[in-house]
Structure formats: C-alpha cells, structure tokens
Subunit: 219 residues, 3 copies
C-alpha cells in the first residue's frame, strides 16, 4: 500500500457509483486518498478504469484492515446496513467524505456521522445532523434544522427543506422534494420510507411507506 | 461596532434562514461583513450560533442605522414588505448580496434591486432584471430575458426558464419549474401568486392564485 | 479577426441562449475565445450586448470558415441538425465546450462528440458517451453508464440517472428526471422523444413520443 500523508481509503463497491465517489474523493482536498476497491466477492486484481488494486476480503483483512478507512458506496440503504455490520464485526474503521469548507464552521452546527458521504455541490444549512453510513449524492440541497438518520440514501438533485426529520434507512429518489415543516411541527419521513424520483412530500410519511407523485401519495 | 474595510451588514431575522444568509455573505467576497442580527422583537444579547451581537431596535437606531446596511432574511414576501416599509421610514439603508462574478459584466445586462439577495450556486442568464427586496435562495436557475419584481421569494432548486415575468410578492416553492415563454408571449406569474413545491407552471398564472402539481393547476 | 493564442469560436445563434453560451465560454479556461456571432440571416454589424462582430454568411465564408470553430446554440434539436448539415456542406469545423477538469481523466471514460456543449455546473458520471451537436444546459446531473446521442437537448436542472440511453434528437425539458435503469435493462428514451418540463420518466419511452407528468405518460 502507498506510503502517503493522506489517510488511505478503501472503497467498498465496484460499480459506477463507486467510481463517482472515487472521482469526488480524489478531486477534493479531504485528506483521504483512495488506494483500493473491493466488495465481498472480489478477487485480487485491478479495478478496470482506475487500475487501482481490486482486493479480496482476505487481502483486506491482511493488508488494509489496520491501516485504511472504508467508505461504503452501494446506494441501497439495506445493503450498506448489512455490509457495515459485517465490517464492524471485522474491526473496520470508516471514513467520511464531505466538503469541510461548507460544513465545519462551529457556528454552522453541522454534525456528520461515521462512514457518511456528501457528494459534489451538495449544500447543507445550519443545525443539520446526519447519522452514520448515510449517503447524499450530488447537487442535493438540505435546508436548516434538519435531522437525517443512519443508512439514508438521497439521490441526486433532491431538495430537503427546513424543519425536516428523515429517519433511518429512508431512500429519497432523484429530484424528490420534501417541503418545509415548522419548529413546532417538523415534517417526519418515517424509518424505511421511500420517496420515488420526483415525488413531492408535503406532509409527514409513515415508516416503510413508499410515496409517489406531486403531491406524494402512498403507492 | 467593528472598524473594517468591508461595509457592515445587519441581518434582519434570527432563524435558520438568517444563518444561511450569514454563511453565504461571510464566505463570498461581496464587500460586506455581517456585524449583528436583529428582528423587531429582539433584545440586546448574542446570536446563539455565531456569538455576534443580537441587537434591539433601539440599539440599531442609535448605533447601527447610520453606519450599516440591512438585509432582510425572512422568506415570506409579505413579511419582508412590511419590515422594509418600517425600516425605510426609519431611514435604513439596504445591502444587496449576489455573486458579482456571475452577474456584473456589462454585456450581461443583469440588474439587481435594493435589498435583494441571490444565494449560493444560483445562476442567472442575460437580460435579467430583479426588483427590490427579492430573495432567490440556493441552486436556482434563471434563464435569459426574465423580469422578477419586488418582494419575490424563490425557494431552493427552482428553475425559471427564459422569457418569463414574475410580478411582485410571488412565492415560488422549492424545486418548482416555470416553462419558457416566447419573446412575443412571455409566461407571466401574476402579482402575489404562489407555486407550491415541485409545481410546473406551463402557462401564465393569474395574480393571487395558488397552483399545485405537474402541470400546475389552481387549488 | 483577433490574433490570439486561443482558438477563435463563432457562435451560431443570436438570442439569449447564445449569450448564455458566450458567458460560459469566456468564463471558462476552455481554450476558445468567441470572436463573432451569426445566424443564417444575419447581416454584418455588431451583436448588441457584447459589441462583438455580427457577421453574415458571406463574411463567415470569406473570413472565418478556415480559421475558426463553430458552436451551434439554438435549443431545438431539429434546428441544430438542419444548420449542422448546411455548415458541414460548407466545410465548417466545430468546437466543443465543457469543463475538462470534470470530464477528461482517462479513468472517467467520458467521450464528448463534435459540436457538443455542457453548461455551467453540469456534472457527468463515469462511462458517459455523448454524441455530436448535443447540448446539455446548466445544472444538469448525468449519472454513470449513460449514452446520449446526437442533436439531443437537455434543459437546465434535468437529472439523468445511471444506466440510461438517450437516442438522437431527444428533447428533455427543464427539471425533468429520468429514473435509473439496470445494467441488464437500461432505460431507453427513443429517438425524437420529448419529456416536458418536470416530467419523471420511470420506464423507457418510445421514439417520437411526448410524455408529461409524474410519472410521465404519453400525451
């Protein structure tokens, strides 16, 4: 493995989504450098586009586990939850990726959990708390006073207005919009709910419910 | 008050929206520096996140009115209209905030009125006239040959196509889309109209009318 | 014509759309410099906003054809197709415009055809192939493993998810969303189809079909 001032990152995932994340990590000044790709089935070789090492689970355990940080790329919340559980049991350490220039100021009160990722051009407002292994893709707009749980995926171009709570394992589709709540009555997207692409949620959504349309209605 | 080469700005508003504006003003090279927050009910103290002075109306009149510039942060058009009227009567001067690199070139023919604000990543095309105390939030896309009136609010992620006229006091919700008009027949959003989040306006909207859906229809 | 280290570009088109393109080309470090505007009916004079030469077809043939590169600005696919054919017959050479920092890395596998244009803040993922004389406007988000044909126009704010194929002459309206396909079954937008503003395509669209709504349905 490279000897580098940046902390080494292993990307879990071998699809286009992992390459998107690779692009962003390498482009930003985030302090990490991607050194390998893997998934649970991979065998030792080379990732076909970057020519970086593609490693097996055994190679990861032997050569990378103690000296690198992992970021989980798959878009599906339940997959990330399952993989995170397996790698936690193996003692993995997780990286986070986000634009620190936009989120780190103490007055901004932004808190981002372990293993989470905010993509290119994604903006968050003040008082935003994001859980673990949560993935916000590109061009997402998150307002102020928003709580986002663990294993949430938000697809590109989505808009989350202010005074919103998104519970664990929620999937927000591309270009979906959540209207703003109020301090007394935030809009709550319940655990495991799913907003399909382009849906507009104008009120709270019960757990495990899939909604579609403008305005969003349960399927 | 600070002695600074930048012009001092007082932000009217004490919610998350005001902190969003604070973030952008401080991050940009706009020539202003926020020195205090206030609203009509505030008492002297400190804004809780930035620790900047929170000032009362009396303190503003005595110590800030003659030497600072105000920007009104509340999102509701009628609130900004009411507050602007009161502060005009008190002799307030207003700041504007926008990315001059994107708007100032003379050939671009962009005109932005007093007290108006264009948020982060918001783009405007050529021949765009924006009135006073109008607020375009983040990630908004405004085409060419567009007129926007006074006290208009456009929420994040909205798209205004070319050959559109938006009259005073209009509220455009998050992610709403206004289709393009033509030079002979622009799309006109009438005074005080409201497009709810995610609405797509494909034709002109009468004044005071609220529309919803794709395509947008009156409620 | 200017003697310049940058390659001279002539913009075909004289409306606000052409000025949008002018703004972006001049702002970026793309290696081109706009030296004139024209359309098939223009007479020699000056473009009204930039004061750059507005040239006739005869002047183009005599003074610009051999030493400049053209970019076609009209938004309508069929107009660009017609004009490209006429100028190809006259031996024109075409420019491309896009942000090379975001697309050029070899591992990114992005291929952009002749005469095509990607606007400001438009992002593309890995394994994206774009044809000739195709126009992606501002703030567009294109995922990974996407093929876009020739003479396609994508209006601002649209979102194209991964595993999508967009055939020639398609028009994607402002803020429209195409859901993701899968490697085995990509979503295909057929030749000449049209997605109106804000439409969400959740399945393939037949050629020459216009769809509207959330989810998109044929008109």
């Amino acid at each position: 493995m490279k000897d580098t001032a940046k902390r080494p990152m292993v990307l879990y995932g071998t699809s286009g989504q992992a390459l998107f994340v690779y692009d962003e990590v390498m482009r930003s000044g985030s302090g990490y450098e991607v050194v390998a790709f893997m998934d649970l089935d991979s065998e030792d070789g080379f990732e076909q586009y970057t020519q970086l090492p593609l490693i097996s689970l055994e190679t990861w355990k032997r050569d990378y586990a103690d000296s690198s940080y992992m970021l989980l790329c798959p878009g599906t919340p339940s997959i990330r939850r399952k993989v995170a559980k397996e790698f936690c049991a193996l003692g993995a350490r997780f990286a986070r990726h986000f634009d620190g220039d936009r989120t780190d100021a103490p007055w901004k009160a932004v808190d981002i959990g372990e293993g989470s990722y905010l993509g290119l051009n994604t903006l968050v407002g003040n008082c935003v708390k994001i859980g673990d292994h949560t993935q916000l893709m590109t061009n997402i707009n998150v307002g102020h006073d928003v709580t986002i749980g663990d294993y949430v995926t938000i697809a590109p171009g989505a808009i989350v207005s202010g005074y919103v709570e998104i519970e664990d394992d929620v999937f927000i589709g591309a270009g979906a919009i959540i209207s703003n709540g109020t301090p007394e009555k935030p809009i709550v997207i319940g655990q495991g709910a799913m907003l399909t692409a382009g849906t507009v949620a104008i009120r709270s959504v019960p757990p495990q419910t899939r909604i579609i349309g403008v305005p969003g209605r349960p399927l």
